[in-house]
Symmetry: none
Subunit: 215 residues, 4 copies
DNA sequence: CTATAACCGAGACGGTACGTCGCGTCTTCGG
DNA sequence: CCGAAGACGCGACGTACCGTCTCGGTTATAG
């Protein structure tokens, strides 16, 4: 589960004084839920702060006390979805990759995920703070899947160990970009389904490449 | 050069009558140029129709006579950029792929391309007409690169011929998603540069995979 | 019948050259009729030149070739209504005045007359050319009724002859302002009907005053 | 002083809840002042909501929160001018009437009054709500002058008492229409000045008529 | 048990951009 | 040269959200 990064959970602001009425925790969760619901119902561009506040049964002020703008709110609201991804051990590298590809595709099939993800990424091209938030809240968290899968494959003897830690990191980044990029492109740009057959083809291509490189 | 798909160039609307003052062609090109300039200067979210009109020296109504909204306008304005991509014969499949990867990355480094592309893709998740427009104006046009590269590699003997035309099409789609997806993800989501080294690593991975699959 | 003062009937423009296609006379009458119809249907503020052109089956250009703007067009369209007023000899000054009061009130009950009259008068407070046009096309034309009525009353011996021509003119102006003003105010501002009873009361007041003054 | 009839002062809407930030009273007065200033500077037809807002140092939305359209705003802005009219006791009916005629003419000489008054009256011919607003905000308030002047004249013995209250009301309405109508017509339609001489002539005519009728 | 302080809802505020409408002008083709 | 058709630059419209700012009122801890 993600520890949501709201203003009030930041160390420097949470303890600005122990007196006064504390912030409502129900409000936090209600707002994030309302944001996801609004994304499903309206999409990114039609989503308004006022509407989210209404859906959450909360005043607009309460939103702005916690998030500085729409983008930050949406990142937090969507980030939690990506933590559902897991990497159960299916016994082989191929099966593991195929599993995560299908899981990721299923996630991107949810409207609140796909519309929000692309929109905040688009926005982040002009907003460094937002890009950093996306990386820490979403991207970097999922690299664990790559690292875990590689470690497992190495333990099985499917992939060789890499001695140079920098090379290992670069390799992991590359794999991550290939997997995430291909699935996102397939789903959002090509707008074709990621079914069993496509996942199988893609996985074969990737794992074959990895095997050839490693040898 | 792209044949821009404005309202008035659509076959079904261009002949609403040959009478009356014809639409200004200079306005068309001025608007598209102004749109690209505004994207560079302001980015997607700060771009306004009024500002584009001012930059183009044109009335706002003239924009709305041609494009129904910001998204369609931006797609048309940006589409032409993607037609600059070429596939010069560098003598080998690896060199060809690496070349197109670097070209594509260079394109995505241009601010008007990256911010606009992601934004319209995000919007297209809720707008079928927009998605179709993106596909026809941008995506499908670039698949030619994959087809051309494969044909060349087959002629060189680097890749086997595929008899089943459907399988060949699926394969081309897959390669397209992998290349485009990985580069986009690297540049926009991971926000890391696509330099010579990364291009080399990625190309090796991909071509190795293709070679293993074909055999 | 009013000789409409359009651009093309002005001596300096009608003969700008005897060559070329002559202006359509049907267009003139169709435009004025369409203007009155639009006034009835839409009122002054909702009336648009484009709508008038459409109703008249004419291009907007054709309107502007004849009238410089909305106000001038409306004045001409409405002026003709006021020429319907007549002063049949009813045998006495009181009966004559009462007759003209009722006639004028009936005219003001027509929506195209009342809404247009007030609107152009309002506009004329800032537009001298328009005020002059209103005076010549509408106001001055109706003063004939006062002059005719007075002459008749003098012939009957109901009113004394006035020797000083300037005093006579002032007196006629005053009577005109009182009659027209009272009826207009009753109908448009007070928004009460001008019925037989009111016309009788008003006429008595006015004629009594005239009689007292004259003696 | 006029109790301005804005949306928020209407009994049925002022209590839509005592919560939330209350409306700014300074904004109200600033808007009405700005409206009068804009009427003087621009006249009715050139007056725009945006300009009034700018002059008042207020957002356009603040105007629309209080008045649904230009007409209602202008009625409220102008209504207060008419409350300046008074009827000081000048010792005789003739002097009183002459005084009020000159006062009224002076008021109509002010550009914000004359252009606005005619325009809203013109508009009111198609808008019942507006006509009612004009009557309650402007017209009915001034009938007090007639009633007061008559009472004074009766006290002096210049006019007989009227036993039938309905006849008295009708008579007051008639006098009001005659005075207001004649002055308005003289100033706005005939566009001639209401000077001492005209006021004297008109007053003599009216008072003579009243005297003849009463006897 | 009260004072203080931060919270909460509601909603008005100054702004910015929207997409539309009408104006009066212009440019084309055809009669 | 006129007339229809309709695109053009312009400017105002009335609306929708933005993010901020009062309000009155609530809920905690501190004294």
């Amino acid at each position: 589960m993600v520890a949501v990064m709201c203003k009030h959970t930041r160390p420097e602001t949470v303890r600005t004084g122990r007196t006064g009425r504390p912030r409502s925790v129900e409000a936090d969760t209600a707002i994030l839920e309302a944001t996801r619901a609004a994304l499903v119902a309206l999409g990114w561009s039609k989503l308004t702060m006022g509407d989210v506040a209404t859906r959450a049964g909360v005043a607009k002020t309460t939103l702005y006390r916690r998030w500085t703008n729409k983008n930050e709110l949406v990142v937090d609201a969507v980030a939690v979805l990506f933590d559902e991804l897991e990497l159960p051990d299916r016994g082989s590298l191929i099966a593991d990759v195929e599993g995560v590809v299908l899981q990721f595709a299923a996630l991107l099939a949810r409207p609140e995920a796909k519309t929000a993800l692309m929109a905040v990424v688009a926005e982040s091209t002009r907003d460094d703070a937002l890009r950093i938030r996306i990386r820490s809240a979403i991207v970097d968290r999922q690299k664990r899947l790559v690292l875990e899968g590689r470690a497992r494959a190495q333990a099985r003897g499917e992939l060789p160990y890499e001695d140079d830690p920098e090379a290992a990191a670069h390799s992991a980044d590359l794999i991550f970009d290939v997997i995430a990029g291909a699935v996102v492109h397939r789903v959002l740009v090509s707008a074709e389904p990621v079914d069993q057959a496509w996942a199988r083809s893609f996985t074969l291509l990737l794992v074959s490449g990895l095997a050839s490189l490693g040898s």
